[in-house]
């Protein structure tokens, strides 16, 4: 059993009989190789005077992967070597992805936390020059909340009803066309939605910049997300429930309102909140339609407003240390805002899920 041997006489074909104990690398081999590779990288780094530790890491990684692959090929054969290589690369992808994402969150928290306080949340930028410290995001927070609220008021009913149409009524070409274009609409760049409202609302109908104009663009971005998630949820409602209600003589529209929608409400709420989180972070249409201001403007329908993402962009573009601090702090508030919406959405989903599946 120790060697592979060809058993051609008995069965006529040359299928090699596998041994159950092919040569394998010892268990400690990967660990030893890792230590060796790191040591090698350190030596090369010190001798070659490479300043960037990123380069050290890169060298260690390449040496480790190559050494493992080579050694495995010699000892275990091609198949196991390829298997090991694939595992290493998959793990590498994971680590490579983790680095920037962790860094993004870490930087935002590290540079944002020192500047977020009650004053920052409750004051506007009115009268604060870009190089001065101080000022706050109250006007931007107010703008974001108002614009997102208006956008939801427009998008949620249309989105819900469209989903109801697709699941409960829609058949034939119209339904197919709507399904397709909802999907395509999901991919519209936010700046294009902004340009559309710009050309219609501001350039053609001659209204001024306002939070409302921005909210309209945001609602265009929000609609397809609401339709998609609601549609998925409505499809999960068992047909027996509808039939039971219809069989009792309840009209279809009341069945939908009283039976179907309440059954799916948890999932729908989750989808809506995820959509809110998505549009709360949109900047591009706000630049075009809301324009931005340093002052508090509570009127969504009249005059320029600000919003959190726009505020971050403006502060970044000032390019002074004080403005950068404000940008990071506002970014932190924005991330927190979006994350809270996300976590709440998932909490709702989890809270409602068991009932829906029963």
């Amino acid at each position: 059993m120790s060697e592979q041997h060809l058993d051609t006489t008995e069965r006529g074909t040359a299928v090699p009989l596998a041994t159950l104990r092919p040569p394998r690398l010892p268990r400690w081999a990967p660990g030893a190789l890792l230590v060796g590779s790191v040591a090698f990288a350190v030596v090369v780094g010190v001798v070659g005077r490479l300043h960037s530790h990123l380069q050290w890491g890169l060298i260690a990684a390449v040496v480790f992967v190559a050494a493992t692959f080579g050694l495995a090929w010699r000892v275990e054969g091609r198949r196991h070597a390829v298997d090991r290589l694939a595992s290493l690369l998959v793990w590498a992808c994971f680590l490579v992805a983790l680095l920037p994402l962790a860094s993004l969150l870490y930087e935002t928290v590290r540079r944002g936390v020192p500047h977020v306080d009650w004053y920052f949340l409750t004051h506007s930028m009115n009268g604060v020059l870009s190089w001065q410290a101080g000022g706050g995001i109250y006007h931007a927070l107010l703008g974001t909340v108002e614009q997102v609220a208006i956008a939801s008021v427009i998008a949620i009913p249309i989105g819900l009803l469209t989903a109801v149409y697709l699941v409960e009524y829609g058949r034939g070409r119209l339904a197919k066309a709507i399904t397709f274009f909802v999907d395509v609409m999901t991919g519209i760049p936010s700046i294009v939605a902004g340009l559309f409202i710009l050309s219609l609302w501001i350039m053609m109908l001659d209204f001024g910049y306002s939070g409302f104009a921005g909210a309209m663009a945001l609602s265009i971005l929000m609609m397809p997300i609401v339709v998609r998630s609601t549609e998925e949820m409505l499809k999960l409602v068992p047909a027996e429930l509808r039939e039971a209600s219809l069989a009792l003589g309840v009209p279809k529209w009341r069945t939908i309102l009283r039976v179907v929608l309440p059954t799916a409400i948890g999932g729908i709420a989750t989808g809506v909140m995820l959509a809110l989180a998505r549009i709360a972070g949109e900047t591009a249409p706000i630049i075009l339609l809301v324009f931005g201001t340093n002052m508090i403007n509570g009127n969504v329908f009249e005059g320029a407003q600000s919003s959190l993402p726009l505020y971050v962009y403006e502060q970044w573009s000032f390019g002074t240390e004080a403005a950068y601090d404000r940008a990071w702090a506002a970014a932190l508030v924005l991330i927190a805002f979006v994350m809270i919406l996300n976590l709440a959405a998932r909490a709702v989903a989890r809270w409602k899920a068991p009932k829906a599946s029963r």
Binding site: M1, D7, E10, R11, T13, A14, V15, P16, L17, A18, T19, L20, R21, P22, R24, G77, R78, R79, H80
Partner: protein, 259 residues
């Protein structure tokens, strides 16, 4: 080459749950052994421990020994990949690879060998195994078509051809006919009879007539209660088990008093 299996004190777990407990038995080479027993008695789990497929399930783990011609499948240094190469398996539902043609399905295992085959060699192996699986005449004109287009019974025979193409020593079959109609079932049973001269065959079945028809030896598994581990009650020549079992529980099960 058909090989003999000796199982020694085998216990299999899912996480902390014991699925089967302390099983000791031997499986004769070049014969058909059937596993019967009520649902949940662990016969499929036990089957999957014989080619180390059990440990693929999350939480799956095994204690005890499974000797294949005196070599412990769970011994140190044993490569599960090689074990599965030596002990082939046919599943409950036919599962040909949907993205591959009939031809490629049969050749799939061979491409894993690390040996390069000539086209003509490969053609020969594919034809030989499809013939052995009683499928050649039905598919020879559409070898390049997807395997998923065949009927359920044909798909299952394709899966058997795929399993035999790598020339395993043992062939495990996990209720291979439960998803098939009676005519396809008959075709598979004929095939099992034909294959047993070359392979050690172990078949799990819910169908006692089938066990009586195809097997030389039969093992009866049972469990004390739901949630309790399954145990081997007895194993003996099929004739003996069906006519004159030594344990009362076996007789009760076979005569339909429970299960």
């Amino acid at each position: 080459m058909a090989k003999r299996i000796d199982v020694n004190g085998l216990t299999a777990y899912y996480g902390t749950h014991r699925a089967i407990e302390d099983i000791t038995m031997h499986v004769e080479p070049g014969a058909v052994t059937a596993f019967i027993g009520p649902s949940g008695c662990g016969k499929s789990t036990f089957l999957r421990t014989l080619n180390r497929m059990h440990e693929v399930t999350p939480g799956g783990r095994v204690e005890g020994k499974v000797l294949l011609d005196n070599e412990d499948l769970y011994g140190p240094g044993v490569d599960p990949v090689s074990v599965r190469r030596t002990v082939g398996m046919v599943f409950q539902r036919p599962n040909p690879f949907p993205t591959m043609s009939i031809y490629d399905n049969v050749a799939a295992g061979l491409k894993l060998n690390g040996t390069r085959y000539k086209k003509s060699e490969l053609d020969d192996i594919v034809e030989k195994n499809l013939r052995a699986a009683n499928l050649w005449n039905e598919v020879k004109d559409r070898l390049a078509r997807p395997g998923a287009g065949l009927s359920g019974g044909q798909q299952q025979r394709l899966c058997i051809a795929r399993a035999t193409a790598v020339e395993p020593d043992v062939l495990l079959m996990d209720e291979p006919c439960s998803a098939l109609d009676p005519i396809s079932t008959l075709a598979i049973e004929d095939l099992i009879d034909k294959l047993k001269t070359r392979y050690t065959i172990v078949i799990v079945t819910h169908n006692m007539q089938q066990a009586a028809r195809v097997s030389d030896r039969t093992a009866f598994f049972n469990l004390a209660a739901i949630g309790q581990p399954g145990k081997l009650i007895e194993i003996d020549a099929t004739q003996k088990i069906f006519r004159n079992p030594s344990v009362q529980a076996t007789e009760d099960y076979i005569s339909g008093r429970f299960g």
